[in-house]
């Protein structure tokens, strides 16, 4: 495999950072990823040389920024293989993508008594917007449960789908368990009943290659900051036939055609869904990050991360006192665990002082924790720049934790 990890690590300046006089070992990638130098430079260059507001400007800088912004849209389109760049909506992030969709889809299609299906494995971002919608529309949220290994019980889905089902929302890769869900199968089932499916790809695009046409999902959401891009930018993909029908989520500049106080008409796709000045520098930074990922090869990244995941899993389990949450055979990037008898928070505090950044707590997936009856886990999540030495450091850290808390 043509994946020189030592060389790649040099692309990320923050990795040479020290914390508490120890080399940083960054395993909080599920929360946010670090940025390669090319992305940092891209933003820097933009601010020092090109910055200008987009769309309505007649001048040179504005034309250039507009072109770069629209090219960024095409980069995203090709990255997830959307059929058209009209299907790529820039948003501030996954949470906004899902909330926007919940609003628009809700206004257009959800009536009293209708049902929306989610899974027990969802991140709060794919639960709360639907709960809020259901409360507003007096509709009902139904939940596909998962087994203790962290595998969705798809037979329940078959029982749940009925003539009132309007939408199915499913997490692609679980941020709390690492499970890669069988989205293709779910989408096939749903489409047999003409039910559209939203896939929350916040934890999948950066770890596996995503092809929205092959997957045939109706909507797909992800965040830039989790795929080596800046904060404040994300994507809502939607099939054009849906986006054409949905009302805009927000009103303002750029999304309109004609505004009068009597009647306002809306702009065409994708602009209809992009009210106001978008985070165009974020979008251009996102394109730069996707180019970087593409240059390394998504498949290479996936393989590298999977090797680390397996090493980590084996070494942690070999210790004999670590319980892993999420043991589905089809997994990605997430090691969610508890050191027996030790509170996750204590584990996290000690690892921190050893320079190892992990996340502890519920990972915005409280229903997953409720499933296991636990308060939370320690989560080490792997990114393309992690290496085997860091996995060893994590294992050593866990050993230290065990000796301290016993």
């Amino acid at each position: 495999m043509n994946f020189n990890i030592d060389q790649i690590r040099k692309d990320f300046p923050i990795l040479s950072q020290q914390v508490y006089n120890r080399p940083l070992v960054y395993f909080d990638n599920g929360a946010t990823t670090q940025k390669p130098q090319c992305v940092i430079n891209c933003i820097n260059d933009y601010h020092t040389q090109h910055n200008s507001s987009i769309h309505r400007g007649v001048h040179y800088l504005s034309e250039k920024a507009t072109e770069d912004y629209e090219n960024a849209r095409k980069t995203v389109q090709h990255f997830i293989n959307a059929a058209s760049s009209n299907e790529i909506i820039f948003t501030p992030g996954t949470t906004s993508s899902i909330n926007g969709l919940a609003f628009s889809f809700g206004e257009r299609y959800i009536r009293e008594g209708d049902e929306i299906i989610v899974t027990e494995m969802e991140h709060h971002a794919n639960i709360v917007p639907w709960q809020m919608l259901c409360e507003r529309k007096k509709s009902r949220l139904r939940v596909i449960p998962f087994s203790d290994e962290g595998i969705l019980k798809l037979e329940e889905l078959d029982r749940m789908i009925n003539e009132k089902t309007r939408l199915i929302c499913v997490i692609h890769v679980s941020n709390a368990l690492g499970t890669i869900n069988p989205v293709n199968e779910i989408i096939q089932k749903a489409h047999q009943h003409n039910i559209p499916v939203l896939v929350d790809g916040a934890q999948s695009v950066q770890h596996t290659s995503v092809d929205v046409q092959q997957m045939d999902c109706d909507f797909f959401a992800f965040s830039g900051h989790k795929i080596y891009a800046p904060t404040g930018i994300g994507i809502l993909y939607g099939k054009e036939k849906w986006l054409d029908e949905l009302p805009p989520f927000q009103g303002g500049g750029d999304m309109v055609d004609v505004v009068t106080f009597e009647k306002t008409t809306y702009n065409s796709l994708p602009f209809k869904f992009e009210a106001g000045t978008p985070n165009y520098i974020g979008a251009i930074g996102l394109a730069s990050a996707l180019d970087y990922v593409t240059s390394l090869g998504v498949e290479n990244i996936a393989q590298h991360e999977l090797t680390l995941l397996h090493q980590g899993t084996e070494k942690l389990l070999n210790l004999g006192y670590v319980k892993l949450f999420g043991t589905a055979p089809h997994k990605s990037s997430i090691l969610s665990f508890i050191v027996n008898g030790v509170h996750p928070y204590d584990t996290g505090m000690v690892l921190d002082k050893m320079g190892i950044a992990v996340r502890t707590g519920t990972h915005c997936a409280q229903p997953v924790m409720q499933h296991y009856g636990i308060e939370g886990t320690v989560r080490a999540s792997v990114a393309l720049y992690n290496n085997a030495l860091e996995i060893d450091a994590l294992v050593e850290g866990v050993k230290k934790v065990k000796t301290m808390f016993g």
């Binding site: 769309h55 309505r56 400007g57 034309e63 507009t66 629209e70």
Partner: protein, 149 residues
């Protein structure tokens, strides 16, 4: 030289090369714009009763009306704009494409745009809508081709 004469005797390539040559003498943008202003005056002006919303082209900051008429296998375009430079640009397009067959219009490679320095105007988001004009002309060509074949 008048546009109308040029239409019937020269090939699309001839006219594109002619335009490129005309613009070659200007290396200053202001001169190019002055020339576009001049050209705008030669535009076969659209009948005022055709300046209706249905003939408006979307995506321009200025208004552009474009009309097409089918005449013995060829399409005659006429147009107008409330902005002069836009009018000059549409005049160039008409000079190249008016009086051509639908097939010629559909297959045309408008390389002159790049060569006279208007390439950036071709960006889909350019507010002058050059791309929209070309698209609209090709749409007319397609419509007439479908209708009369």
């Amino acid at each position: 030289m008048s546009i109308v004469n040029a239409i019937h005797v020269k090939s699309i390539t001839d006219i594109q090369n002619e335009i490129i040559e005309e613009f070659e003498v200007y290396d200053d943008w202001m001169d190019k714009y002055n020339y576009l202003i001049e050209i705008s005056r030669e535009l076969p002006v659209i009948d005022s009763k055709l300046k209706v919303n249905e003939n408006l082209i979307n995506g321009c900051q200025s208004k552009v009306w474009l009309n097409a008429e089918y005449n013995q296998g060829k399409i005659d375009f006429s147009a107008d704009s409330d902005a002069i430079i836009t009018k000059g640009i549409v005049a160039l397009l008409i000079r190249v494409l008016s009086g051509r067959t639908p097939a010629e219009i559909l297959n045309v490679d408008l390389y002159f745009i790049d060569r006279i320095g208007l390439r950036q105007n071709l960006s889909p988001t350019r507010s002058n809508g050059l791309l929209s004009m070309i698209k609209q002309m090709k749409l007319y060509a397609l419509a007439y081709q479908t209708k009369y074949q």
